[in-house]
Amino acid sequence: MRTAGILFILVCAASLFASSQVESGGNASAEIRALELEWSEGQARNDNRALDLIFDNGLVYVEYGKLITKGEYLLRVRRSTPSLQPSIFFEAMTVRTVGDTAIVVGTYREASLKGGRTMVQRWRFVDTWVYKNGHWMLVAAAAAPMAR
């Protein structure tokens, strides 16, 4: 899960772009893929200002099955501790645009330390972006753990 509070995220950018597929939308798809990356990088830097620009005020985010708001997400990022945070590695991503809406579906691996051991979980996510006032804004994001 792209846990709020992540401080230390290693984003495999090369892998992200190599494995990304643009289903439709041309420039919009490229823009949204870049925003997905910005989101991860902003989170890694604890850059709430960057995240604030990416997240719509009405953002809904499902984290480990819990529903959280933009405010709660940003608060968690602000309070997070680098040494305890997991890492995220994007694997694949597809973007489909339908009018002013874009649906991003992809997978990523999350590594975290539990009881001194590194645990890896794969997740499949669905993110919804909406084009508002000249910008793509993230309005919903959720992920489900992939069965092993």
Binding site: Y64, L67, R96, V98, G99, T101, R122, V126, A142
Partner: protein, 149 residues
């Protein structure tokens, strides 16, 4: 089944002109909640005609095991699944122009290998308004309160 399909058509019907902005939004939210409930009933009844009207051709679904299914896969799954009771609660609709995001809790009751089960998952559905109708373009369900480990 015909009744369900008619319900879908009614839910799709446009909002009367002359409404205020808030009344229109409230009306839209009600319609989308109605469509969510019809979706559940259609899944229970294996009503593919109703489901076909609700789901966009490019619909994508991520299930609680992280499997990615397209519209045809979902319809085939519904047809092949044993009888279940499905319901949604705590639904909230957020409108973003022609897009609506619905969050809620999805409960499914059924029998698996002879044993009854009840599952409660969190869901996020995205709807899009096109040519006077709302169709679901994406959906994800995930177990509630899991770390995945």
């Amino acid at each position: 089944m015909t009744t369900l399909f008619l319900a879908v058509l009614l839910a799709f019907a446009g909002t009367a002109a002359g409404y205020g902005h808030e009344a229109r939004d409230s009306d839209t939210r009600s319609k989308i909640i109605a469509l969510e409930n019809i979706w559940n009933q259609a899944a229970e009844a294996k009503d593919l005609k109703a489901l076909n009207a609700i789901l966009d051709e490019g619909f994508v679904y991520v299930d609680r095991d992280g499997r990615l299914l397209k519209k045809a896969d979902v319809l085939a799954d519904v047809l092949a699944s044993p009888p279940v009771r499905v319901s949604s609660e705590a639904m909230i609709v957020r409108l973003h122009g022609d897009t609506a995001v619905v969050t809620g809790v999805y409960q499914i009751k059924g029998t698996e290998r002879g044993k009854p089960f009840v599952r409660r998952d969190r869901f996020v559905d995205t709807w899009h308004h096109k040519r006077g109708t709302w169709t679901s373009i994406a959906s994800l369900t995930t177990p509630m309160g899991t770390s995945g480990y």
